[in-house]
Symmetry: C2
Subunit: 404 residues, 2 copies
């Protein structure tokens, strides 16, 4: 029998206990042994809850318990979580986490620590909730160079943008609705500003490149400026607008960004609606693949944590190669990135000629016929060229990047 | 260094050699050793080809070569392939195959043989080409009971139905086009009659249920009767029509079928166009997940074969549990399956009342206003009820099942 501990008995932590209880027989068969939750660490007590007898309040009760071989960190946050996880790894316990903030900030250090102590540090649930994307990158797509990641990795913003696109609702209204339904936090910044997606993209990029990609170097924009008018233009162009994390992986650098992007309705990602997530990969031999599923939620995320627990129980020793090394992967200068842009411009179309002299040839969009404005689609331009034009032309109301 | 052999130097076999050559460094890093193709078995010679020096014509040259630890079977067919694979397994070599016909027919026996000889028998490339669906089922979704498989697993028919849907083209025209482009064989029966999809569904169902599902027990219909008129009705209803393999897995039986089905344009599978494949899974904790990619093609399929070669090199010994056992999983009586049906009916709508007395309440569809006919959508009915009605009512021109 394998004995484990759960640190943090919130949504995900209680889900882990539930998955292990509900599917215990199946998991025992796959592990070759039963898995028992021996201790749950939380500041609170849970009278009446099945775990009430095993709740502890002191991390040392886990660290010093030699029977416990695997610890699930489902507390969230960076500082205390990193400290507790480090203590567990140093005590020779494998650690499994759903905490993307901790992995993005301190994953490199924790991976090294796990190697040093001959245990596992696994974090399937930190990206894409229940989608087994990390395990696929580590163990399935092994014959390929992955060249590009293009993913919807934040369910809150995807829910909001789906509503805005389908219903023509505005940002404030869908945010309120998302908050009322529990899809968005009272302080939604982490999601709507793109920071959550940025951390997840950094983790995926680190795995694919094998080197540490610092999330702080990834240009990140949220969805707060996206309007129903942008959606109307997108529809006329046969496009979707979604918050996308994109990373093009080269030998010596990556090109990465998180921003709302327009892409064709024919793209496989266009079927990724509401709170669902999907990661679209391009690789040299396999071509395009996509992994789709619930990016959040108690049981999907808990299921991903438990799949890592199973791996840590079945293969407890350190793997030959760290998932990524301490070496930092440079992120290419964002200003020099070339792509096409959509922009809404206030004024009459005579202005298009003037913008054309700065931006090169433009496609001018009349539909959806909003009074006093028009749309443009540029050819491939450097980000800094577009940014300078926006700074000099207050007539440009909004800009959304076009996917390749 | 690991030495391997390739049996069958056709499209997939030559792709395997190419992937191993092109991505040799990457693969060596992931394996911890280089992989060398020592021998290629084929009836032909390949003068001028990089493999010309290592081509052999006698299976015993591989079977009796103790240096060869892994053999890729990429010949196709059932009889000879099964014989050669058995010889390799008995000689203590792991075998990797892309051959779904052999796996569906003899996989149970070959899995047992591999267990007995303490080697691996892997067949990732037999379903979904480059989509790592089998590895996901075996190693990623380990904390879940998978309850339902709903998949587009044949690229030829998906290409044809996409064309019929998008362009209103008829079956014969798109078949000719698919043949001209190399997406369909000169004798297309294996694809268009659904047999290829049936074998793949049987393999997936066997893995999920852990017992042998005999493809011969799965009700299978192809796409040869699908018409532009069916597509027109589907569009009016906001639906797609695709060839789907569906399997609902219960404790003691499965409900399985391959047939063209109508499903909502909002479904995640609706973005699976042209020659792409996708497998949509429903499981108890993760909820819905989908795996999408190129279902065929030289390099995607070869990449899947090579990912299995890597697994066989890294973990050569038999696994604890066979992927599925010799016990046969019953397939539920097809006639008793309940679902909704769409049908085109020739005549005027007075006939709808008569059909309603046999089939229960019907939704009558007037659009797309085809002269002399109308459409109906039934409530949930047994297959045998619908079949009897069709037999008794020659006015029913066509029937397509509705997905749940």
């Amino acid at each position: 029998m394998a004995k484990i501990a759960v640190m943090g008995y919130g949504t995900v932590g209680s889900g882990v206990v539930e998955v292990l209880r509900e599917n215990g027989d199946l998991i025992a068969e796959r592990c070759g042994q039963t898995i028992e939750v021996k201790k749950v660490l939380d500041l609170r007590d849970f009278p009446g809850d099945p775990v009430q007898e095993i709740v502890v309040h002191d991390i040392n009760e886990i660290v010093n318990d030699d029977e416990i071989s695997v610890v699930c960190e489902t507390m969230g946050g960076v500082g205390i979580a990193t400290k507790f996880v480090s203590m567990c790894l140093e005590a020779g316990k494998s650690v499994v986490t759903s905490n993307k903030a901790m992995v993005a900030a301190n994953g490199t250090k924790l991976l090294q620590l796990a190697q040093k102590n001959n245990v596992r540090f696994l974090f399937e649930a930190s990206v894409g909730g229940g989608i087994p994307i990390i395990r696929n990158l580590r163990t399935c797509l092994t014959a390929d160079h992955i060249q590009k990641i293009f993913g919807i990795v934040n369910g809150t913003t995807n829910y909001m943008l789906t509503k805005m696109y389908d219903e023509g609702a505005d940002y404030a209204a869908v945010l309120k609705e998302a908050q009322d339904k529990g899809f968005a936090e009272a302080d939604p910044s982490e999601d709507v500003e793109g920071w959550d997606a940025c951390r997840k993209l950094a983790i995926l990029s680190s795995i694919v490149s094998g080197k540490f990609v610092n999330f702080e170097n990834i240009h990140t924009e949220g969805i707060t400026k996206v309007t129903p008018e942008d959606m109307a233009y997108a529809k006329e162009m046969g496009c979707m607008i979604r918050l996308v994390g994109q990373s093009v992986i080269q030998e010596d650098q990556i090109h990465a960004m998180v921003a709302p992007m327009m892409f064709d309705q024919e793209h496989a990602l266009s079927g990724v609606n509401m709170e669902f997530n999907a990661i679209f990969l391009t690789s040299d031999m396999l071509g395009d693949t996509m992994f789709y599923g619930q990016g959040a939620g108690k049981l999907p995320t808990a299921s991903a944590v438990v799949s890592d627990v199973i791996e840590a129980v079945v293969s407890p020793g350190a793997v030959k190669r760290s998932v990524w090394t301490q070496e930092e992967m440079p992120v290419a200068d964002f200003g020099a990135e070339n792509r096409r842009f959509f922009a809404r411009v206030s004024g009459d179309e005579a202005l298009a000629d003037e913008l054309g002299t700065v931006l090169g040839s433009l496609k001018v969009l009349r539909a959806p016929r909003i009074a006093g404005e028009f749309g443009i689609v540029t050819g491939k331009l450097a980000e800094e060229t577009m940014a300078a034009c926006v700074a000099n032309h207050p007539e440009i109301i909004s800009v959304i990047r076009m996917a390749d």
